[in-house]
């Protein structure tokens, strides 16, 4: 799984396709750390093409969320697929990581 990012007006969109597992998790952490270090602490992770996420993947999202908040911003997710949604709900993490329909919508309200 490879991640790319694109700086938008009020946020930075991070995108990746495939399975968000142990291997992909560390890549996601690196990419988000890079984005935040570059001064963009409002991060939208587009999960449209992420078909699977395990506990390591969830751990990465949580770690990135904390990093973004520490930098004064936030991390939001969009395009969440059924398996990922299920993991978020089961673990009760859908409250902190609320799925938005699109990356654009994730930061449209503020």
């Amino acid at each position: 799984m490879q991640f790319s990012y694109e700086v938008k007006d009020s946020y930075t969109e991070v995108k990746g396709s495939g399975r968000l597992n142990l291997v992909a998790a560390s890549k996601l952490r690196e990419v988000v750390a890079e984005v935040v270090a570059a001064g963009s602490s409002r991060v939208a992770v587009n999960l449209e093409e992420t078909v699977f996420m395990d506990s390591s993947g969830l751990g990465a999202l949580i770690g990135c969320l904390k990093a973004a908040r520490q930098a004064g911003g936030d991390l939001r997710i969009s395009g969440v697929q059924p398996q990922v949604k299920m993991v978020l709900e089961l673990t009760n993490m859908d409250r902190a990581l609320t799925p938005y329909p699109t990356a654009e919508a994730a930061f449209s309200d503020d």
Partner: protein
Amino acid sequence: MPASPGTRCAVVIEDDPDVRGLLVLMLKQLDFDVVEATNGLDGIQAVRESHAALVTLDLGLPDIDGLEVCRRLREFSDAYIMMLTARVDEITRLTGLDTGADDYVNKPFSLKEIQARIRAMLRRSRATPTVASDELFRAAEVQQSLLPKEAVMLDDYDVAGSFRPSRSVGGDFYDWYQTPEGLQITFADAMGKGMGAALIAATVRVVMRSVAGRAGIDSAFRAASASIAADLEQSGSFVTLFHARLTAATGRVSYIDAGHGLALHLATGGSVHRLPAAGPPVGVWDGQQWPAAEVDLAPGDSLVVVSDGVLDSFETLEDFMKHVEIAVRAQPTADLACQAVLDLAPADSAGDDVTALIVRRLGTDARQPAGG
């Protein structure tokens, strides 16, 4: 017979003595320590004991077939498995299946060809240092040591747990201990894999045991989770945790679910109800608290806790619940029911540990004699 440092061990599973002799000779030339097995079950045992790096596996064995051997090997071994078959058309069929084998060779084979393939394999695997497999092996040992060794002897209840580690070793464990009132159980899944996850699991087990004597589940869990969270903070990890206390006389279960969400209550009448998590996993947020909830086990009811490794085999939660229910209800004992739940996750696709724990309150017509 673990391989000494620097040497690799290979296991030859082959019933034909001539072919076996040839393979052994060829592998010795490649500096392998070689163990021979003439049937599937001995072969599995040999791979387990030797931590073999390479296995040659005949498809047609006298006891169990090569595909089954391969499936069972993949439950614990990362060895390079080369499957040998006498039929050319078999290879085409096998490559289409997810057998778990790394390579297929047609018999009669050329020794040169096999040696070339093994050399290529050795070159590829050099990228994976042996330290990593050592670490995984130790992590697996840590994980095994976390499981309860003593059976639960509780009148009118049948309690069992079962655990199958993944090839990469995750952080699942379950634990139980009897109390004057009944039973306490803990079911946890530490994020990630390998030694890190196994050590976190070990910590969680000790901490949960340390609060077993506290009067209320709320205060016990509050103390335990604060202590675990402090440990987790440094590692940036978290643990999903299901903890329950059973009062045997009434069947009342008080439980706290921190981000696990995979405990099911199977009632005798045919209903199945999932106990939702009351908050996120332990270690996600500082100062988090989780409210306790209660569920009553009537005679014939079961409490089934399953790890997400089993869930991964299903498209939806409903599908998962339905299959777990069918698997559990079809079995006469908690132990067999646990096995049936584990079997829902195919061995070759299980990238995660799979674990199940079942507390069944015996029905009035199904009471077993004490200790039976």
